[in-house]
Symmetry: C2
């Protein structure tokens, strides 16, 4: 099998942004869209967007632009988000609860099919339509469910243990909300979301901004 050209990570992130945008405008009756219209709406540079698509041989029509439905389908095909995918979540705290209840997830074909925690006070409780399960039974449960996407919404101290359990249960990619670095074996993908780091970067921005209304 010929190796696919290595796709830059920023390209994938931009395609995800674009896909989210196309989902937004689907309801409106727009048939075609140009790369510069996408730039206006999303901030993604038009030439860059066209280049991003060119990695995958996605084509618009010169002089016209892109068919919205077609473009959306093509990007969905690239990101492999056309079909429902089961997701398991570890950590039934506030954040975990927010994620399970987040209506945007099913809308984008991600379905949280099980929630786990190690806190006996939480195990057995109901979170929306799911019953919180003992994290000790995660592997067993996922043998049935077959999820390959996992979300860590537990505290930093537990994150590495949770990671190990997830990987053991066949999870192949992990979205980590715990503010700590987790180690995974080769062949497992991780993305980290860390509120505090985001705020820290914004704090730097803030310190560099000129003060308004001074003098």
């Amino acid at each position: 099998m010929p190796r696919e050209t290595k796709i830059p990570l920023p390209t994938l992130e931009r395609l995800a942004t674009c896909y989210r945008y196309l989902t937004d405008i689907e309801s409106r009756n727009v048939e075609t869209i140009s790369s510069s219209a996408i730039e206006t709406a999303t901030g993604i540079h038009a030439a860059q967007f066209r280049k991003d698509l060119s990695y995958f041989g996605v084509f618009g029509r010169p002089g016209i632009g892109y068919d919205v439905d077609d473009l959306k389908r093509r990007i969905a095909g690239i990101l492999k988000v056309e079909n429902e995918q089961p997701v398991i979540l570890v950590g039934a705290g506030n954040l975990g609860s927010a994620l399970v209840g987040f209506f945007g997830l099913p809308q984008h074909n991600f379905h949280i099919v099980a929630v786990f925690d190690n806190n006996p006070r939480k195990i057995g409780q109901t979170l929306w339509d799911l019953q919180v399960q003992d994290v000790g039974r995660l592997s067993e449960t996922n043998a049935q469910l077959g999820a390959r996407i996992g979300i860590i919404a537990g505290p930093a101290v537990a994150a590495q243990n949770i990671t190990d359990v997830l990987v053991d249960a066949g999870i192949r990619v992990i979205l980590n909300f715990a503010p700590t670095t987790i180690r995974v074996p080769d062949g497992v993908g991780v993305r980290n979301v860390c509120f505090i780091q985001e705020l820290a970067v914004l704090s730097y921005y803030l310190s560099k901004l000129p003060e308004p209304n001074v003098g």
Copy 2:
């Protein structure tokens, strides 16, 4: 005033990661740490980390490494996270509630001092130690509080309105959790966190991973 060298964004993100890590190990009695130990712990390449620090004239000792306390203080000074900073939050839903209750925020000197919503059923309710206020009074309230950091935890359809209100109220940097692109005037900083986009990128990873146990 001589213009400071433009700092690469990835440098700031790495410094934020490093800072979070140094906060973690503060409790353990480690006095010094080398750039390669930081690489092991955080995945940040050692040479890159040293280069990152060099933008700011932060120095370790050849042959020894970095004094942990000193390094932490210096990075805090760069990111301007040494002192408590007030933060206001818009959106008292599940995510907003999770953020207000997130113990990691005060630990890192970010204090959510007010929560707003436009839903009459939520206004007046208590979220942890805060009472949800009418978003219509945000500007008025923030005139007292003086927060310059804002968090958007509302739905995508409301995000642009919320943004405008925040900017109007003197907010200078915004952490946006709504899955949509917001427009801000020049001089206002934004960072977006979008769960769905993270999952979409992971979904791509997943499709590229070799299937284990096949054949």
